[in-house]
């Protein structure tokens, strides 16, 4: 299962590296979102940075929706899905691989957007750095949940509005946990209480994906 997961993750990441969609489309979209958030708050409020954790995660959610959709489209459009099905690969391994690839992409985007929040929203660098463990786990959970909901929404074949509708209610607890721990880090408080909630969400989504992904991909 782990071997298949690494193979699938490698395949997805190679496709992303070659197509450069992440670099030239998704990342600029995220940075623009962050910049617009700062403009919407105005110079006085943006400077106080108390809204920064919420805005960071809101932009990350929008970016994640694009990535999840893309992660499913690359399966369907190139016939990879059919190939994987005929190869008889363990669906749990395929799910873990897709979740891992999505998490890596989210971590890379998250790193850029965190730098952006220091720059545009004036979040303290030390607080932002101490929020890193929580951001990493929350984005990992977002990747796991996203892979499951991506498959549910029809693997990129369904209408574009379906994925946000299915996944946003489920992302709400991650948004809350991520935002609270980031805010706690900026106030030099403990991030661990919320970090554990993100970790439990990560474990729960991975478990659900391992259990149910096969049913979704069953032909």
């Amino acid at each position: 299962m782990i071997r298949i997961a690494l193979l699938v993750a490698g395949k997805d990441l190679r496709i992303e590296r070659r197509s450069r969609v992440l670099l030239w489309q998704v990342l600029p979209f995220g940075v623009t979102g962050l910049l617009l958030s700062g403009l919407a708050l105005g110079p006085t409020q943006a400077g106080h940075s108390s809204a920064a954790p919420g805005l960071f995660y809101l932009v990350m959610l929008l970016v994640a929706l694009l990535m999840i959709n893309r992660s499913q489209v690359i399966e369907g459009s190139t016939g990879t899905k059919t190939s994987i099905a005929t190869l008889g690969l363990d669906p749990a391994g395929v799910f873990l691989g897709k979740a891992l690839a999505l998490a890596v992409e989210l971590w890379l985007t998250g790193a850029v957007l965190l730098a952006g929040s220091v720059l545009f929203l004036h979040t303290a660098l030390s607080g932002t750095l101490s929020a890193l463990p929580s951001v990493a786990v929350t984005l990992g959970a977002l990747g796991a949940a996203g892979s499951l909901y991506g498959a549910l929404s029809g693997g990129g074949q369904g209408p574009a509005t379906l994925l946000p509708m299915l996944s946003l209610p489920a992302f709400a607890p991650l948004l809350i946990a991520g935002e609270r721990s980031f805010s706690a880090a900026l106030r030099h408080g403990s991030i661990w209480r919320w970090w554990v909630i993100s970790l439990v969400a990560l474990v729960a989504y991975l478990a659900l994906g391992i259990l149910l992904y096969g049913v979704l991909e069953e032909s």
Binding site: L148, L152, S153, G154, G158, P159, T161, L162, M165, L166, L168, P169, A170, A172, A204, L208, L212, V215, L216, E218
Partner: protein, 240 residues
């Protein structure tokens, strides 16, 4: 014989119990010591919420699980899940509306971001997403499988809603009718009216579910009949 009788009696019995609930709730029961006449919502809101969260959503989740289990997989289970979820949405909306109407004069606000209210609203969003998911898939088998998986994931929310008032400090009141130790919280005729309302709204759910299920069967029959008709027409065109 008994099944037919039960089916015939379901509608009239539901109507009688609902009328009885409203008569007891509006005319017979006394006003509450603290809340006065506002407490009469006790005979609507908890019963509607009970049906929305446990009876209807529970039916949908169990039918979905039975659909995913290969031994019990059938179109009947998929239809039950779908119809129960549709009815559940109606009850969730009524739950949120009656809760708001009760909340404004008692709490002082229409809405509060406490754990019980927020998790109930999230369940409503899950249910809307479930219907959107069904509409997005044309293949009946794929649609049934995906929506069954989604219903089971959404079902995780139900115990969270139920225990939210115990796990966290919430503005919403704790368990209705009994404390954890089994002590009565609602007294006299008020308690009996509450129980009758729970029974009446549960029967209303099953009556609505039955009607919605029959509608779904008729819709499927009409679809297949029109498909057969279209095929027959093409064949006739081919002959001429």
């Amino acid at each position: 014989m008994i099944k037919q009788l039960a089916q015939r009696l379901l509608g009239p019995l539901t109507l009688v119990l609902l009328v009885l609930t409203f008569w007891l709730g509006l005319w017979v029961t006394p006003p509450d010591k603290i809340q006065g006449n506002l407490a009469r919502l006790l005979y609507v809101h908890p019963a509607v919420a009970w049906v929305a969260l446990y009876v209807s959503f529970g039916t949908a989740a169990v039918a979905s699980a039975l659909y995913l289990w290969k031994r019990t997989r059938s179109q009947v289970m998929d239809r039950i899940a779908h119809c129960a979820m549709e009815v559940s949405i109606v009850f969730i909306i009524v739950t949120l509306i009656t809760g708001s109407i009760w909340g404004r004069p008692t709490w002082g606000v229409w809405w509060a971001w406490d754990a019980r209210l927020t998790s109930t609203a999230i369940l409503g969003l899950f249910e809307l997403a479930y219907l959107a998911l069904r509409r997005a898939n044309d293949d009946p088998d794929l649609r049934a499988r995906r929506s069954a998986v989604f219903a089971i994931i959404a079902a995780v929310n139900v115990p969270i809603i139920h225990f939210s008032v115990d796990w966290w400090n919430t503005l919403h009141q704790g368990a209705t009718a009994f404390t954890e130790n089994g002590n009565l919280l609602v007294h006299g005729i008020m308690l009996w009216t509450l129980f009758i309302s729970l029974f009446a709204f549960t029967l209303l759910f099953f009556w609505l579910l039955r009607a919605r299920y029959r509608l779904e069967v008729l819709r499927d029959e009409k679809y297949h009949a029109s498909l057969d008709e279209a095929l027959a027409q093409r064949r006739r065109e081919g002959v001429h």
